[in-house]
Symmetry: C2
Subunit: 220 residues, 2 copies
Amino acid sequence: MIQPRPRTIPEATVARLAVYLRVLSTLADGGRSTVSSGELATAAGVNPAGLRKDLSHLGPCGVRGVGYEVDTLRDRIGRVLGVERSRPCVLVGIGNLGSALADYAGFGSRGFEFVGLFDASPARIGQRIGGQAVRPIDELEAVVTATQASIGVITTPGAVAQAVCDRLAAAGVRSILNFAPVTLATPDGVDVRKVDLSVELQVLAFLGQQRLAPAIGEPA
Amino acid sequence: MIQPRPRTIPEATVARLAVYLRVLSTLADGGRSTVSSGELATAAGVNPAGLRKDLSHLGPCGVRGVGYEVDTLRDRIGRVLGVERSRPCVLVGIGNLGSALADYAGFGSRGFEFVGLFDASPARIGQRIGGQAVRPIDELEAVVTATQASIGVITTPGAVAQAVCDRLAAAGVRSILNFAPVTLATPDGVDVRKVDLSVELQVLAFLGQQRLAPAIGEPA
DNA sequence: AACTGTGAACTTCTTCACAGCC
DNA sequence: GGCTGTGAAGAAGTTCACAGTT
C-alpha cells in the first residue's frame, strides 16, 4: 500500500507558500500570465530549486519547458492555504499594535475576519477600528462561542497575556498568535505562534555585528 | 593551530538567547539567585538539552550539580548580545505599527535607541511619540549620517518600502527590519530580516487545520 | 545525588544535479 | 533549448544519552 503524497506540508514550506501567493497576486494584477521558477524565486527572495520543491507538495502544477501559469498557481496555493474559507478571529489588546492589526486590509483577502476586538481599558471600549467596535474583555467568551472563532491574537501587555491565553483556550480557541513578550503555556491541542519584535531586532543587530567582525576576540 | 570555539553563534541560538535573557531578567527581578537548565527551559518554552547546548556557545557558564547563577548568566548573555552598547536606529513609517514600535519600552533596555522617526505624511510631522518628534522623510539621509545609525526599521506601506530601503542602504544602514508585505532587494553587505504579520497568521491557521484533519483528501 | 557540558544519533530543511517533458 | 519535478547529497538544527564535576 503506497500513499501517493505525504499529507503534511512542512512548516517552512507553508510560510513560503504564503509569500508566493502574494507575489503571484501582484503578478496577476500586473497582467502577467506565466512565470518561471527562477523569476518567481527572485521576487520571493528564495532559491529556485527550493521553490520548485515547495510547489511539489501541491502536486505537479507547472509545464516543463514553459513555467507556471500565474492564475492557476495562485488559485492552487490559495486553495491549499484555505484563503477562500472565512476564518473568524478575535483580537485582544487594542493598543497601537492591536489597532494596526485590526486595521490591516491584508488579512481580509486571506480569509481572516476579525469578529471581536477586546480591551480591558474603559477608555477604548466602543472605539471603532476597521469597521468594528472595541468590546469589553468580559464579553470574550460569549463572542468566541457565538462566532466559533478558532484563532486568537494577543497584543496585550506581557503581564496579562497568560491570563488572556487561558481564557481563549478555555473558550475554544485552538490557535493563538502571541505578540506579548512572554512565553505562553497552553493545554494540549492549542498551539501558539510567537512574534517577538524585540527578539527580531536583537537577532538582526547581532548577526550584523557578527558578520562585520568575524575575527575579533572579546576583551576579558 | 586550533580555534578554541567557532566564532559564530547559530541564528536559531541567538534568537533563543534573547528569550533566555528576558526570562533571566524576570527571575532576577523576583530575587531568584540560581536556576537549573530544566526550569529555565520550561520558562522559555524549549528543551533543556537544547538550552544547555545554546549556552555552550558562550563557554562554560554553569556549575555542575547546581545550575546557573541568574545574575551572572544574564550579564553574560547580555554582553554577548551587546545590550550594553547603544545602537542608534531609525524608523520609517509612523502609522499604528510604527507608533507601537516607537513607543515600546522593551527596546531601550536592549540597547536600541530610536534616533529618528520619519513619515511622508505632513499630518504626522511634528507629532511626538516616545519622546521623539516625527520628522519629514527628506531628513532621512542627514539623520542617518549624523547619528551613524546602522539599523533601520520599515513600517511603511508595501508600495514605498523598496524605495525607503534603497535610501536607507545608500545612507549607510547595514541592517533592516522590514514589516512591509514585500520582499526587499538589497546590495551586498546589507541584510534584511522580514516580519510578515499576515504570513504568521496564515501559517498558524494552516498548521492548526492540518493538525485537525491529518486524513482528509481534498475533493476534486 | 544533582545538574552541566557535549559527542553522537536523528530529524528537518536546503541545495544540487539531472532525468523527463514540452 | 528551456524549464519543471525529484532523488540524492549536504547543512543546520534538535534531541538523546551519558561522562564529568561539584
